[in-house]
């Protein structure tokens, strides 16, 4: 029974004098198990461990003074690299004003809450955002964003009875009139297999050409995370990902799955329900969490 605990894997590896085919494949199997238990998608975990295996067989490791240590470093570094690398970058809004930001994702992932947190963050750096309640489907969605907007002292644009497309267009016109420099559009949660709803998002995108589209994903997501992320990427081509509910004990393997499947960066990590719990995403912290 190979251990899925990275601490145990690294303990065994660090003690290694010589690297053999057997201990590399044992290590690789342990790492794959660790990743799967952490909710990394099967195909992503398989590809990752195959790449680790070939690197572990490489020259650098075989000639290293402590090959076990070298393999541990390869595993950790590879994870960090796949999730965006060591340097953390916040997406800059530098296009033509008003900057249009669109927030999308599956039902219940945390979009509406994120919109308020993001707006609050922008306001702290002097921006004047206009929040747009473009979810006309969920009961009291507009009311929810309205209450959050009041909480942070931000302006809200909504219009009962209009389509999400019209609401978004009218909101941008109002932002221009009122000198709001950022427009943040909260959209309804939707399934990536719902062609009508995905079409609605494409329409808004084509009409308004948002500067930034963020895909909000639940940090507790399992094997299926790659499916929604890939489909949203293919149809909407978002710019970055927000991973939410990371204040719990989910290992967060979805982070690796989504990055590997879409090649998009995770830009923010939501660490709680309150407004002040939005952070920049740190690949190195996530790597440690996934490895357990």
């Amino acid at each position: 029974q190979l251990s899925g605990r990275f601490a145990e894997i690294t303990k065994n590896l660090r003690g290694l004098g010589k690297i053999t085919d057997k201990n590399i494949s044992d290590t690789v199997r342990s790492v794959r198990r660790t990743l799967l238990e952490a909710d990394v998608n099967y195909k992503v975990a398989k590809k990752f461990t195959e790449s680790i295996k070939s690197k572990a067989m490489g020259d650098k490791v075989l000639r290293s003074v402590s090959p076990g240590q070298q393999i541990v470093k390869i595993i950790y570094d590879e994870l960090v690299e796949l999730m965006g690398g060591a340097s953390v970058k916040e997406p800059e809004l530098k296009g033509k004003k008003p900057h249009i930001v669109m927030v999308v994702g599956l039902q219940g992932s945390g979009k509406t809450t994120f919109v308020a947190k993001y707006a609050n963050r922008l306001m702290k750096s002097g921006r004047k955002p206009l929040l747009v309640a473009a979810d006309v489907y969920r009961p009291a969605a507009v009311e929810q964003l309205s209450q959050l907007a009041k909480q942070i002292g931000a302006e809200l644009f909504s219009n009962k009875g209009d389509s999400p497309l019209k609401i978004s267009k009218d909101a941008v016109k109002q932002a221009v009139r009122d000198n709001r420099d950022v427009v943040i559009i909260d959209t309804a949660g939707r399934l990536q297999i719902d062609s009508a709803m995905m079409g609605e998002l494409r329409q808004i995108k084509e009409s308004l050409k948002p500067e930034l589209i963020l895909f909000v994903a639940d940090g507790m997501s399992g094997q299926d995370a790659v499916n929604a992320a890939s489909e949203f990427a293919a149809q909407i081509d978002f710019d970055g990902v927000v991973l939410t509910k990371l204040d719990g004990d989910a290992r967060g393997g979805a982070a690796l799955s989504i990055c590997a499947a879409t090649n998009k960066p995770i830009v923010y990590a939501s660490m709680g329900e309150s407004i002040d719990t939005l952070e920049l995403f740190h690949p190195d912290r996530m790597a440690g969490r996934i490895l357990g």
Partner: protein
């Protein structure tokens, strides 16, 4: 796999991969493969692969006799259902759907908005009460959730209501203070009726991975969960984690959420679920 004819080690690995991708967990997938590999390697047809796996899955799921449960005479008046779960898992929507379901059985239903924390939680549930055609008890934003549960149970008794369904705020099981708050909601109702809440349903988002097992364990430890509602099964996530949950805990899946409309709640059926894992 099924149209390759013969099952070899390669196919065994692919089948195990498919099982893992349902979120049932590495150990559960290995356990199932262990009990089927000999039969498979001996040479079986493609239909047999499917039926062997389906049977393995079915044998690991607890059956929920919906007709007995929903159709039976309710022992207490009111029969109290408390709905709990992590943030965004579908509690409020499920409360609305359950209210409509019980109403269709001719029962008099009351729902309670005990989520006094999240923005517009009560407003959201109020719209569901209209859709389901039932009354709602709510309080002010920031009120003590246990007091809403308390007042709702007293109101339900006074009005001779058959079923009281209590919605609670989303909470991560790792937050001790929030789990204490949940225990209090249950305790306070227990003081009025020692058998209440008669049902404690935990909503699990099918998109969640292994964390759903931890959720079931922790909510189970805190307030005792009598049934699971696997929500958002209309998406592409499979919800296979319920095999691990049934394996380790004695909590049956009672309902599945298959959409955002009031009628999108169905009783859990083991055979249908098992076959859905492989499509």
């Amino acid at each position: 796999i099924t149209d390759r004819g013969k099952i070899g080690e390669q196919e065994i690995e692919e089948i195990e991969a498919a099982l893992i991708q349902t979120d049932m967990g590495v150990d559960m997938a290995a356990e199932i493969m262990e009990s089927v590999r000999e039969r498979m390697l001996k040479g079986i047809s493609s239909d047999e692969v499917y039926s062997i796996l389906a049977k393995e899955v079915q044998s690991r799921l607890k059956v929920f006799e919906w007709d007995d449960e929903i159709g039976k005479e309710l022992h207490s008046k009111p029969h109290v259902i408390l709905v709990v779960g992590v943030n965004g898992s579908g509690k409020t929507t499920t409360v609305g759907k359950l209210a409509a379901m019980h109403s269709r059985f001719g029962r008099n239903v009351l729902i309670a908005a005990a989520d006094t924390y999240r923005a517009a939680a009560a407003e959201q549930l109020e719209i569901w009460s209209k859709r389901a055609g039932v009354d709602i008890i709510k309080s002010v934003h920031g009120a003590e959730p246990a007091s809403v549960g308390h007042d709702a149970l007293l109101a339900a008794k006074a009005r001779g209501v058959d079923v009281l369904i209590v919605d609670s705020a989303g909470r991560l099981h790792t937050k001790t203070n929030l789990m204490e708050e949940l225990k209090k909601i249950s305790r306070v109702m227990e003081k009025i009726d020692p058998a209440a809440p008669h049902e404690i349903l935990l909503t699990l988002d099918s998109n969640n991975g292994q964390n759903a097992l931890l959720q079931a364990k922790e909510f189970g430890k805190a307030v005792g969960v009598t049934g699971l509602v696997l929500t958002k099964l209309d998406g592409t996530a499979k919800g296979g984690i319920v095999l691990s949950i049934n394996n380790e805990l004695d909590i049956p899946v009672k309902y599945i959420g298959i959409g955002e409309e009031v009628e999108d709640l169905e009783p859990f059926e083991v055979e249908a679920f098992a076959s859905s894992l492989f499509y």
